[in-house]
């Protein structure tokens, strides 16, 4: 009799131990969803109001361990009317996904210029987690997003190249190559995103050059009608030991 009771008690305890973490998940779910909402809102602000971006790359003697690449972005705006179209939460991975959209007639961009958006719908996606171990793919996605912004700016306004080159018997040897870009960007549209089999993230952004040119009121250097770029981001920095290297873009909001 006693044995049966003990068996039942053990079974109940084990059962509770297994189900408790899911049953009493605490605020993880809410935190992750809220964070994903904020990330999606930031993406909307970056698309519609625009963002300031400063990026530089530097390499010495063409040695990968000396490569230093950093991208900083900044944006701030008050936008009304952002809608959350879809909210998904993966309890097992503690990852939340929120799709946000906005439809506006006019907006003042990051440069303080009023822009007519003609009620065009801008849609962006945000991912977030409250579990640090699961943040890798999300960080890689943000790195890919910043890389895509940087590429768009490089195509739209160009960039500065600075270098020191040695010539030996008419043979060129790049000693030091630096690129710099500081610019503002608006109206970038997300066309695709995801992760490949290695866990590296990609983000595809599109910019309608004619629209952008009309809105900005300046001629864009690119001759194509639309510019489409693919930004890449990785979860791991292979050159960590080099100390100086940071290929994954840094972010500043």
């Amino acid at each position: 009799m006693n044995r049966t009771v003990i068996k039942h008690v053990i079974l109940i305890v084990v059962g509770l131990a297994i189900t408790a973490p899911q049953g009493w998940a605490g605020n993880k779910r809410i935190m992750s969803i809220k964070a994903a909402e904020v990330v999606a809102e930031r993406a909307i602000v970056e698309s519609v109001h625009g963002l300031k971006l400063r990026a530089k790359e530097e390499v010495v003697d063409m040695i990968p361990t000396t490569f230093e690449g950093s991208t900083e972005s900044k944006t701030a705006a008050t936008i009304k009317g952002i809608k959350y179209e879809e909210k998904t939460y993966d309890a097992q991975k503690d990852i939340a996904k929120v799709t946000a959209s906005v439809q506006l007639e006019n907006i003042t961009n990051i440069d303080g210029k009023p822009m007519s958006l003609g009620n065009k719908v801008f849609k962006r996606v945000g991912f977030a987690t409250s579990t640090p171990a699961m943040a890798g793919p999300i960080r890689a996605l943000r790195a890919a997003e910043l890389d895509a912004y940087k590429q768009l700016i490089k195509r739209v306004v160009g960039f500065t190249l600075e270098s020191k080159t040695t010539v030996e018997n008419f043979m060129l040897k790049s000693d030091e190559v630096k690129t710099k870009v500081i610019a503002t960007l608006y109206l970038a549209e997300l066309t695709d995103y995801g992760w490949d089999e290695n866990g590296d993230a990609y983000v595809k952004l599109k910019l309608d050059v004619k629209d952008a040119s009309a809105v900005i009121g300046e001629k864009v250097v690119e001759s194509a009608d639309t510019i489409e770029v693919e930004g890449l981001g990785s979860q791991e920095n292979d050159y960590k030991s080099g100390g100086k290297t940071s290929a994954q873009p840094k972010t500043k909001k």
């Binding site: 790359e57 390499v59 063409m62 990968p64 490569f67 690449g69 890798g136 490089k154 195509r155 306004v157 160009g158 960039f159 500065t160 190249l161 600075e162 270098s163 020191k164 080159t165 040695t166 010539v167 030996e168 018997n169 008419f170 060129l172 790049s174 000693d175 190559v177 690129t179 490949d196 089999e197 290695n198 866990g199 590296d200 250097v221 690119e222 001759s223 194509a224 890449l232 990785s234 979860q235 791991e236 920095n237 292979d238 050159y239 290297t245 290929a247 994954q248």
Partner: protein
């Protein structure tokens, strides 16, 4: 049976773990290659590339018809000065004149021997 299941489970966990997180090596290498090519393209636009030396360059790069268009804003070329030994006309070594005459390959011997002399070891032709 249990052991087999355990091995299969370990394999299933090991395979995705080894292939995950490819890192940024490939991206960095591609970026470096692009930077190197772009810089060489910019330098080759300069009219005064020395045989040996260094070139400091600043350029504005824009995209035009899918290709980079490089406008060099400023550049400084520093040719490498090769040090030549000063030639002293008074002290330079006298050049040895070359005598044109047939060389008898069978008669090679002591370099210090004066022509016309015979040595002890040399067989006398008389």
């Amino acid at each position: 049976m249990r052991l087999t299941s355990l091995i299969i489970l370990c394999f299933c966990m090991a395979i995705p773990a080894s292939s995950a997180y490819g890192g940024n090596r490939e991206m960095v290498e591609k970026e470096i290659k692009e930077l190197d090519e772009l810089n060489k393209q910019a330098v080759q636009q300069l009219p005064d590339i020395p045989q040996n030396g260094t070139i400091d360059l600043k350029a504005k790069v824009i995209q035009q018809d899918g290709k980079p268009k490089i406008d060099v804003i400023e550049h400084r070329v520093s040719p490498k000065k090769t040090k030549m030994a000063p030639l002293d006309k008074k002290k330079h070594l006298p050049a040895t004149p070359v005598v044109d005459k047939p060389i008898d390959l069978g008669k090679q011997g002591n370099l210090n021997k004066v022509e016309g002399e015979t040595t002890e070891n040399e067989p006398n032709s008389d």
